[in-house]
Symmetry: C2
């Protein structure tokens, strides 16, 4: 075990200064993020010796600043069961990080004030890499100011770009959704291509990595000779080779299906399609989107035939009606492992997945330092793509297959999934108001 | 019962000239079209006294011309069960109609030749209105040339634009898919709108009618106060009123969700977004697409915030993993009713759905003349939309709710729906080749 996989103990004190717990969610949601939330709450509830109350913040760290807290100490098992299959982020997830300490000390002071007031000694942050490191920094700040707090990350991302971990909780369900949808759409075009569309493209999420695009390749598990083109974000787009392959596959099979990452770039490193630029206080954010439609038009012009394009967008990260049981279990286990790490006194760590067995897949969690993993990005390796970079290999199928195994029962009510908004009563505020966003 | 709802008996003869059966599929697929196919085959198999062999044509009427036929007389119950949950069109569906008789007699002569060779006396065509009328015309031609054929339509369209019928088989499942996906995506934006996207739009199929767009409104069954905008194809788009409503809903609720028909037109009758123009031998076909993205950009510019757009495209008509049991039953019953109509000697008719009871919904099939229904189009009525034309009414929910009730068991294999391509052996050709498309 190298240093990045060893628990790091609380830098300020062997024990936190208080025993209440705070859990919050940040970044893009997944279909199973609330399974992690339920696991944290259940595990904390089971350790009244170690933990006091457990609060959740609304809208992640923004809710901490704004003292928008919910006391879930006595959340019933019925509500917890409901939480386990609820899509979205039940406690709301923010795309908002604290400023660097030197630019905005007031934010850090405010978190310290809130943590002291609510006697928070444990902080579980369920978000992207960057957010979790910010959470750790604010906990460090608390420790340096006489209020030690143990901060542990809870892994989550549909993008599967979390490095060191075998995979990311959230990815398996999005992969199952993408593969199922792509397979169904392929059967549609197989039915109709002789007199209608000969090319279908699905645009998948993935800014820098093509894991979800790769997941569309799972359709080959059902249709081994599917005429498929994958365009993952990591591989520069070459129009000539792409069009050649489209034409070749259509001439061989009569049609061609394609999955593309929203973040596809050309050989000059320019995005093929940008939906817009969002200007936030923190940065300019290039919103991607449109590459599927762009390719669809390009192919239509070349082959002089109808083409079609699907963009599942939010659907791929919200589809609680087609969750992978394996992924759900990983998300649940991630929450549990985070609490276990905190029980061992680990601070500034993230439990990640290590595979312990295959057929069926078994795994355990080990912890790595949040800072060690924060700047890494797991990309699709070369041996997961064929030599031309546009098709899936058996090695990739072997990796992906276990992650989509199993289904969760879906509760329907009146024909629709029973996923009414869960609403919670906030605790009465005790502090002076603080505006997180000015 | 008015004249259009009375069976019309075979104009050429009380009995057809032969007793073999042909079934074929045409037009855009639905998630349940193969349930109709299975019903026709099962019902025919149960009447060996009346019917001889049953064939299916590959690619609809194109396959008839090309003598691409499959003998399904002995299709096993196991294969039929599989067929009942297979998405796409198992026998391939064509977007191809015969030319008018006066322009291309050769096509009609060829069908007659095929029908005579295979002793076809019954022709079941599972397609759009136009295709079914063409099927009738070709059967009429056969009758006029000494080979009477009974032709019966099998209703099918996800668009729900089939008039006289309570609804169309195929619509309920697409509506359930749209409503579920829209609901899940709404929970996503509810989770994140405070620091991310405040507007989400889903582009739904629907060239002239907004039934699938309306179906997104079913999300209000779960979230009654959902800040919703519906833009069905039948209502001209007014940018000023739309932007006003977006801004009002975002100011009230913090976010807004919208569903729009691909065929939305402005007040001058121009499509808001065209993906391309397809030139076929028969006509120029305006391919719609892009209106969701267009609105998403428009709103983004107005509210100066991130917006998102999903385009399910083929997914909404192929999603066999989330089929409405009610719709599935209707599709099955439509196939059965068509054979029953043929058994009664009805020709040139289409069995359509008449509701016989509510809570739970019960229905029967009655037949109307194909020609009577072919030029009609059922549009979303005024009382299904609020006064501003942009939201759903309780009357619409009452209409839609029963159509999405019930779920079908989904068979998974290795994490994916068990929907491998069904392949069939074509009968040995007996005739000289005929090129359907030159």
């Amino acid at each position: 075990m190298n240093s990045s996989t060893t628990d790091t103990y609380c830098s300020s004190s062997a024990l936190p200064s208080a025993n209440n717990v705070l859990y919050a969610q940040a970044g893009g949601v997944s279909a199973v993020i609330n399974a992690s939330a339920a696991a944290v709450i259940e595990k904390v509830q089971k350790h009244p010796d170690q933990f006091g109350k457990i609060y959740t913040a609304l809208n992640g760290i923004k809710g901490v600043l704004e003292e928008a807290l919910i006391d879930v100490s006595n959340m019933s098992s019925e509500t917890l069961e409901r939480l386990k299959h609820q899509p979205g982020a039940a406690f709301k997830a923010c795309r908002f990080d604290l400023d660097p300490l030197e630019h905005n000390t007031a934010q850090y002071e405010r978190v310290l004030e809130v943590f002291k007031t609510y006697e928070i000694g444990y902080f579980f942050y369920n978000g992207g890499n960057g957010s979790m490191v910010t959470a750790q920094k604010v906990a460090d700040y608390c420790g340096e100011h006489g209020h030690p707090v143990i901060c542990v990350g809870v892994a989550k991302t549909i993008d599967n770009d979390l490095d060191l971990s075998h995979c990311s909780p959230g990815f398996g369900s999005a992969a199952k959704y993408i593969a199922t949808s792509f397979l169904e759409a392929s059967l549609d075009i197989i039915s109709m291509h002789e007199t209608s569309s000969k090319f279908f493209v699905m645009e998948c999420m993935g800014r820098n990595t093509g894991w979800l695009t790769l997941a569309a390749g799972l359709a080959k598990e059902v249709i081994p000779d599917l005429p498929l083109i994958l365009l993952p974000a990591e591989r520069a787009f070459n129009k000539t080779l792409f069009i050649q392959k489209v034409e070749q596959l259509i001439s061989e099979k009569g049609y061609c299906v394609c999955a593309v990452s929203e973040g596809l770039q050309d050989e000059q490193g320019e995005y093929l399609a940008i939906a817009g630029i969002e200007h936030t206080l923190e940065r300019d954010y290039t919103q991607l989107g449109g590459v599927g439609s762009y390719l669809s038009h390009m192919v239509s012009q070349h082959i002089q035939s109808k083409t079609h394009c699907a963009v599942p967008d939010y659907l791929q990260r919200s589809a609680s009606h087609i969750v992978s049981q394996t992924d759900w279990q990983m998300a649940y286990d991630a929450g549990k492992a985070s609490v276990e790490a905190a029980l061992r006194g680990a601070h500034g760590v993230l439990p990640i997945i290590e595979v312990t067995g295959e057929n069926p897949l078994t795994w355990c969690f080990k912890t790595v330092e949040l800072e060690a993993v924060a700047n890494l990005e797991k990309t699709v390796p070369d041996n997961f793509l064929t030599e031309d970079g546009m098709d899936i290999t058996p090695a990739a199928l072997d990796y992906l297959r276990p992650l989509i195994q199993g289904e969760r029962p879906v509760h329907f009510k009146n024909g629709l999934p029973d996923i009414a908004i869960m609403s919670f009563v906030q605790v009465q505020k005790k502090l002076t108001p603080f505006r997180a966003v000015k």
